[in-house]
């Protein structure tokens, strides 16, 4: 089994045609499904929240396939996803409600929600309850990197995602967001 750091890659990652978008509908559906699961799984274990389509991303190429072909001196692009394929897989995640969102109109950056925003909001509520934070005030930065969040999914959570979850909770009256002293950090007052 091939690994990527501590991440175990699925067997299909070694099968070259999975790196070419398949033309036949049934085959492509299966291919897209496998890639969606892989992307979510990988982002979750590696705590990755944003994928840039034009940037290096470990899943988008398989050096094992590449180097094997380099050996017979044929190609350099084997085992690497085309831009079209990357966009297709991410678009499939986006179309699955709440699993991903494009961050720009040009579809160059994609926000991966391995917890849906609603789930992040629930995690936040539990976090408040577990730490007895009702009625207290925290900054957004403290939620992401304070001692209370250490070892939880909230530690180092992407700022965009955290703000989305906070706004959802504000909407429900579970907390209030207000401007803090420094311009780039907001304060959160949790309700009881």
């Amino acid at each position: 089994m091939q690994t990527l750091g501590n991440f175990k890659l699925p067997p299909f990652f070694n099968y070259p045609p999975y790196f070419t978008l398949q033309p036949v509908r049934d085959t492509r559906e299966k291919q897209v499904q496998l890639w969606k699961e892989l992307i979510l799984d990988y982002c979750k274990t590696q705590k990755i929240s944003v994928i840039g389509l034009e940037e290096e991303f470990p899943l988008f190429s398989n050096p094992a396939i590449e180097s094997k072909d380099l050996f017979i001196n044929l190609c350099i692009s084997a085992g690497s996803l085309t831009h079209e394929a990357r966009e297709a897989f991410l678009a499939a995640l986006v179309s699955e409600a709440g699993r991903a969102e494009w961050l720009d109109k040009g579809h160059r950056k994609c926000l991966i929600l391995w917890h849906r925003i609603q789930d992040w909001a629930d995690i936040l509520l539990n976090f408040v309850k577990d730490n007895g934070l009702e009625d207290s005030v925290m900054t957004v930065e403290e939620i992401r990197s304070g001692p209370e969040s250490r070892g939880t999914d909230l530690q180092g959570v992407d700022r965009i995602i955290l703000m989305r979850a906070l706004k959802l909770l504000e909407h429900k009256g579970k907390l209030a967001i207000f401007k803090g002293t420094s311009a780039d950090d907001e304060g959160i007052k949790f309700s009881r």
């Binding site: 089994m1 070259p16 070419t20 033309p23 049934d26 085959t27 044929l74 190609c75 690497s80 085309t82």
Partner: protein
């Protein structure tokens, strides 16, 4: 015999013919009776044998396969019915029904990946994984027997030979000779190109593309365009399935 003239001569000749015929029938009857007797003896011996080696037949796949061969030679099908002497004695009917059901499950689960065509070896190893912990070992011969029993369902389960390999087809799609040749060629590297088909099989590119397109449509093949030589590779999961690929030796 010299033919004598007159009606007497004709009568004698007819009588002789009748005599010969009767004798012939007698000999044939004696032979058939003898054969029947021998077969009956053989059958009862086979039953004795089966009774004696019950456990070996159940547990040892090689033994089981030879036993089946022996049965076939005397016209006994231990799988014909789940009732009756053989099934009660050996309980192998249930064994094959169970394998049959598991084979159907595996084929269905893998269909999205291979279009409904799977290597017998791979099917067997998946079956063994599925049955891990059960005491009876399962051989390829057992798989083939179970699949042959599946035919009565009319669901198009069939074993086809392509080159040296046996493939199990679980979809009704018929493969023609061209398709078989392509899959056979793909066994070497796992894929073929149009070029290769033109070169190795002396086909026109039209014929090659036509056959490949059909295989693609049926889900038996997948394309791979990521090569600098610009030649599209057609991969066949049924000859080198992803489930059997292990790490870097892929």
């Amino acid at each position: 015999m010299r033919r004598r003239p007159g009606i007497g001569g004709l009568q004698t000749a007819a009588a002789a013919r009748d005599q010969y015929r009767l004798l012939g029938e007698n000999v044939a009857k004696i032979r058939t009776d003898l054969m029947k007797e021998q077969l009956a003896t053989f059958r009862s011996q086979l039953e004795d044998f089966a009774r004696k080696h019950k456990n070996d037949i159940r547990k040892n796949p090689a033994f089981r396969s030879q036993f089946h061969e022996m049965c076939a030679k005397v016209g006994v099908d231990p799988l014909a019915s789940n009732k009756g002497f053989w099934a009660e004695l050996l309980g192998i009917g249930d064994f094959y029904y169970e394998i049959g059901v598991q084979i159907v499950e595996i084929c269905l689960a893998m269909r999205a990946q291979n279009g409904g065509l799977i290597n017998l070896q791979e099917l067997c190893s998946l079956l063994r994984q599925k049955r891990k912990g059960l005491r009876e070992a399962v051989s390829e011969d057992d798989c083939l027997r179970a699949i042959s029993k599946l035919k009565v369902l009319g669901s198009g389960f069939e074993v086809i030979s392509v080159g040296k390999k046996k493939l199990v087809r679980s979809v009704p799609t018929e493969l023609n000779k061209d398709h078989n040749e392509i899959i056979e060629l793909a066994q070497a590297q796992g894929f073929v190109t149009v070029d290769e088909l033109e070169r190795r099989l002396s086909w026109t590119s039209g014929r090659a593309i036509d056959a490949l397109e059909t295989l693609l449509e049926e889900g038996f093949a997948m394309i791979d365009d990521g090569h600098r030589d610009g030649r599209r590779r057609y991969w066949f999961p049924c000859v080198s399935s992803i489930s059997s690929l292990g790490g870097n030796d892929a």
